[in-house]
């Protein structure tokens, strides 16, 4: 339970963090809350030679809104998201999902940027940002860039983030109706499956839907067959059940002690239905 030796550097700004990372090379890792990385280091599954602490870089935390666009700084902790008055008022899906992560200690330390960059296949926030069609804002030596959340997650722990890049913020348009439904692992509180749904409804008819799942496969991804089935529907019990059934078209599905492939497929359908119903009733 004791990590191997590493050097510690603290960055005072985003630019300094990037410069330190360039200097230290690929054996270095950024650290913010550390609640994904430190457990791996303690088991020596991960042995970075240098840790670059970005936890105190100013200007990277908090939630703000500008012209209907909500922006969340990368260092905002899950506990902050959970109780943020703006999110609770205009995007409660984010506060709810953050409140279901791990336990209180994890939420006090863990950050949204860390969760997205780490991209655990069963993390909650990746599904939420994909469903909200969020932009992931990234800083690097070549300047800032933004990537759509659905393109950011590529595979198992694999994201569109270069060696010398870090996430600075996440932004998305104020959602009209969105909800997250999760079957959580009883011990780790990771999602056995978690489904985020964001709907646009006009005169009782669903005119747009984005539905994303986490926990089911290698990374958070959209359920496009579900989205298609929802679009144009009246979001009654029958159409929600029909759309959720389309969640079965997932490709390879994870299996472990918490649930077989078959069970995860069934739970993906069930929690897709719950997320859609919860979103529709908002």
């Amino acid at each position: 339970m004791i990590p191997s030796a590493f050097e510690y550097r603290r960055a005072g700004s985003v630019d300094e963090a990037i410069a330190l990372k360039r200097e230290a090379g690929s054996a270095a890792r950024f650290i913010a809350g550390g609640h994904s990385l430190i457990p791996l280091m303690k088991l020596r599954l991960s042995e970075p030679s240098v840790l670059i602490d970005i936890g105190r870089v100013p200007g990277l935390s908090g939630v703000s809104e500008d012209g209907g666009r909500i922006s969340i700084g990368a260092l905002t902790t899950h506990a902050d998201l959970e109780s943020d008055p703006l999110l609770l008022a205009v995007a409660p899906i984010v506060a709810e999902a953050a409140g279901e992560i791990g336990d209180q200690q994890v939420r006090n330390r863990g950050t949204i940027g860390g969760s997205l960059a780490h991209a655990d296949p069963a993390a909650d926030l990746p599904a939420v940002v994909v469903a909200l069609d969020a932009a992931i804002h990234i800083a690097g030596a070549d300047g800032p860039r933004a990537v759509a959340a659905s393109d950011f997650f590529r595979g198992l722990f694999e994201v569109d983030l270069g060696e010398d890049e870090l996430i600075t913020a996440v932004s998305f348009d104020r959602p009209s109706r969105a909800a997250y439904a999760k079957l959580r692992h009883p011990a780790s509180h990771f999602a056995i499956v978690g489904v985020a749904a964001a709907l646009t409804v006009e005169e009782g008819v669903c005119t747009g839907a984005r539905v994303a799942v986490t926990g089911a496969s290698t990374h958070a991804r959209r359920l496009s067959a579900v989205e298609e089935a929802l679009t144009g529907s009246r979001l009654d019990d029958d159409s929600i059940a029909q759309a959720s059934a389309a969640a079965s078209e997932l490709g390879d599905v994870n299996a472990d002690l918490a649930g077989s492939e078959e069970y995860r497929r069934a739970m993906t359908r069930a929690f897709t239905g719950r997320a859609i119903a919860a979103a529709a009733s908002r």
Partner: protein, 153 residues
């Protein structure tokens, strides 16, 4: 733990078979492979640097190809150990024609030990599939390159 999966190659079955059996192709296609030495017929000892996300480790292991029925099926028996833990497994691999390409199906039984097993069981299936995909993609690339070189000659 049982891990099943499939892969489609855009190449004819005889070519896929050849490269799945060729030591030179295996060496190039095994993710992170640094050493690959024949120790007995159809048996190799190898070393590989494997990294999935933040988890990295150097593993040494052994691979054996058994029960070979050319172009149809074979069994891959493998074991590996490294600092984060070890594992062993057997995969039954079947090939079939699929239009102009080849459809491969594998059914593996895998056991892991050590830290990898304690924390990794949640990620085992996804990690195994990710590495299998990397391996088959690399086989496809190696086979395509070899064919293009052949055609250019």
């Amino acid at each position: 733990m049982r891990i099943d999966g499939e892969h489609r190659f855009e190449l004819p079955r005889s070519l896929v078979w050849t490269h799945l059996q060729s030591p030179a192709s295996l060496r190039r296609a095994i993710p992170g492979c640094t050493d690959f030495d024949e120790v007995a017929p159809q048996t190799w000892e190898l070393a590989a640097d494997v990294g999935i996300g933040p988890v990295r480790g150097t593993f040494t292991g052994r691979v054996e190809l058994r029960d070979r029925e050319p172009e149809d099926r074979y069994t891959l028996v493998a074991s590996a150990r490294g600092r984060p833990g070890g594992g062993s497994g057997e995969a039954a691999i079947e090939l079939a024609d699929d239009g102009g390409g080849t459809h491969l199906r594998y059914r593996a039984d895998v056991t892991v030990r050590g830290a990898v097993a304690r924390v990794g069981s949640r990620l085992l299936a996804a990690s195994a599939r990710t590495m299998a995909r990397q391996f088959f993609d690399a086989i496809e690339e190696v086979a395509s390159e070899a064919t293009e070189r052949g055609a250019a000659r």
